[in-house]
Symmetry: C2
Subunit: 140 residues, 2 copies
């Protein structure tokens, strides 16, 4: 174990989550005030335990196969205000305060910035900050 | 094809969604007014095409391997107010009006009715209608 997160028998609440065969569940993250859905990501036991203990959104990056502390490169961390579990126990919802007001790597408030209008996905959100500025000096 | 939904080349917007190898993407459904997250489910091309053409939330039930017209048994349909796609193109968000105010099969407003408080998932939402009443006369 590289980290001190309690992911074992001392945390029965973690075992009430119905982890997939790969040990994951999806997580929806929304702004705790506006309700806007910001991101859709994934959790493993360790990510959820650490998020709760550190009070910030932490995910499991499936593409990089590692923990992803949201904001570790951009500074746009998400302060955790609430953690919810659905009726089936297989999906989590984080309610967060989005520091900097930017959740998306494109520099927008939310990852869900495209809306279906007729036959087209229209971009409805402005870029609040150039991604090159957000990630300058940090490895992607 | 049993249904008339256009899921082919005449709908390039459907092909801009990054369907998984199984032809699915997750969908987050939230109340279009309050922003409350109601459900987390799955879509295939046909479900999304039909939802848009019929103006109501339709999903793909992975457990039953069939289309799931939300509300077909309970009457608690979800009128579709907006469809959003995320930056990666692999997650959809439905904004809906929840008829009857009950999205969860337990008779609650939202499926996310358990909140982590300390080491426990506390039920924070009341049952608005007994599930036996909701589903009386209908096959589950």
């Amino acid at each position: 174990m590289k980290v001190a997160a309690d992911t074992g028998s001392q945390s029965p609440w973690l075992e009430q989550v119905k982890w997939s065969d790969e040990g994951l569940v999806p997580v929806i993250t929304q702004d705790y005030r506006s309700g806007r859905v910001l991101t859709h990501a994934w959790l493993n036991r360790e990510a959820l335990a650490l998020a709760v203990s550190e009070g910030r959104a932490i995910y499991w990056s499936r593409s990089r196969s590692k923990l992803w502390r949201k904001g570790e490169e951009s500074g746009h961390i998400q302060k955790l205000h609430g953690v919810y579990l659905d009726c089936d126990g297989d999906t989590v919802c984080y309610q967060v305060e989005q520091v900097g007001g930017i959740a998306c790597h494109t520099g927008r408030e939310s990852c869900f910035y495209r809306k279906l209008e007729g036959d087209d996905w229209l971009t409805i959100d402005p870029v609040l900050k150039d991604p090159d500025e957000i990630y300058s000096g940090a490895a992607h």
